[in-house]
Amino acid sequence: MAAAREKNLGNVILRVEGLHKRYGKDEVLKGVSFELRRGETKVVIGPSGTGKSTLLRCINQLSVPDQGRVWLEDIEITHARTNINHMRAQIGFVFQDFNLFSHLTALRNVSLGLVKVKRMRKEEALARARQELARVGLVAKADAYPAELSGGQKQRVSIARALAMDPKLILFDEPTSALDPELIGEVLEVMTHLAESGMTMIVVSHEMGFARAVADRIIFMEGGGILEEGTPAEMFTCPRCERTGQFLRKISELYGETENG
């Protein structure tokens, strides 16, 4: 079902310009720039350690870039005077390690942000949290604690937690890399639905099947920079860079092509 979809992508919602980040002597991001449009699903692929995760963290300032600027719509996130908490509330983040709040039930994990950040009343927040859990198919586990959930369930709760905040976009940092193969599917399914419903997403992932089926555009990063950007069709069938093609072939060998969307 790898049909190219004609999506009506909106205006530019996120602009990243010249991001540089160095850890000690290692320059992990060497000037990364791109634009993200409303409703777009962008998948970032590339060899490990090429700064893909760092890129995401620089967008919501979990890592502070050494150089470069990021705009969310017309507000510059990287500006010194911007209220970063305010910005982060509009950008969802899904971690590779889930990072669910271990001392709270799934329901309260999802509702906490609403109560603390959006200052919602507790009952309202819980009701909304239940809705989001239903959306990811986990309303039955509302009162379970994270330790009682499987990896796939944890990640889905994590997505619900991000969704509850009504973010303008969601960043996914290798959302399935810590999961057992059997559990990857349920998470990708949720993400696919999200993408199809028009959520703006940036996904760092190795899941080529997902990239091919769901991405509007794919970014190939290597060595701290963007080597190539294009539609799945372009990237997979006739990439401009030799390196892109090499990488994709290797990955497809390892992971196998999945036909699910």
């Binding site: 919501n60 979990l62 908490n85 305010h86 910005m87 982060r88 509330a89 509009q90 950008i91 969802g92 983040f93 971690f95 390690d97 990072n99 669910l100 709040f101 271990s102 001392h103 906490l112 942000g113 603390k116 950040v117 604690y145 994270p146 330790a147 009682e148 499987s150 990896g151 944890k154 937690r161 991000a162 905040m165 810590a178 999961l179 057992d180 559990l183």
Partner: protein, 234 residues
């Protein structure tokens, strides 16, 4: 009077001295808890000069024996301004306990995985909100077992508070009873050892009841699987 009655006669005053020990114990734990928490947070989240201050405080109070702290606080500081003995004892031992409790809390805070803070911040929570709603509840549970140890340790420290002249705690009261107890015709020193054992029992009960309560608290607050921390899921 039988030996048992004589022994009991000397045990009764211990009950009247017990409130002194209990009051000092309770107050010092509160002081240690409040100050220890502040120190822990200051040292974990504060800027360098604040951190240095905390480290100095801890090294100071952990490096000096309880008796010396008590003497200094009483004779050196607070006796002249007429502060009640019980308060001085609680303050002295409390400030010392704070140095130890701070380390417990710091360890607990640091044992909370870094990802918890990241997730909280990524939702838009301020550092303060994240600490209060995410880090603290978890750190608190992690701190309970070592805090129970500190409690046991501190109970024993209270046996020294009689260096504050005029403060009649359990141990001092017992010391006052030993001599007359050992000079009863026909009984002599026979009851001295049993009496000291009974004194020990008082402290044992204090320690045990405290740690038992804390264990109960631990179990009440238990969250399924909370102790498990791992990256790869089943």
């Amino acid at each position: 009077m039988s030996a048992g009655e004589i022994l009991w006669q000397s045990v009764v005053p211990l009950f009247s001295a017990l409130p002194v020990t209990l009051t000092v114990l309770g107050l010092l734990l509160v002081v240690g808890l409040a100050l220890g928490t502040v120190l822990a947070f200051a040292q974990t989240y504060g800027r360098r000069p604040i951190r240095a201050l905390c480290v100095s405080y801890e090294q100071l109070f952990r490096g000096i024996p309880p008796i010396v702290v008590l003497l200094f606080f009483w004779n050196g500081l607070f006796q002249s301004i007429g502060m009640p003995r019980v308060l001085v004892a609680a303050l002295a031992l409390g400030m010392r306990s704070a140095a130890y409790q701070s380390q417990i809390f710091r360890g607990a805070i640091q044992a909370v995985p870094a990802g918890q803070m990241m997730a909280a911040r990524s939702l838009g929570m301020s550092r303060f909100q994240a600490i209060r709603s995410v880090i603290l509840p978890q750190a608190f549970r992690l701190a309970l077992p070592p805090w129970s140890n500190e409690y046991s340790s501190v109970v024993k420290d209270t046996a020294f508070i009689c260096v504050i002249g005029g403060l009649i705690d359990l141990t001092r009261q017992a010391m006052m009873k030993v001599a007359p107890l050992s000079m009863r015709p026909g009984i002599g020193t026979q009851l001295v050892l049993p009496y000291l054992i009974i004194l020990g029992l008082f402290y044992l009960v204090l320690t045990f009841s405290g740690t038992a309560l804390l264990s109960l608290l631990e179990r009440q607050l238990q969250i399924p699987g909370f102790e498990m921390k791992g990256k790869v899921e089943r």
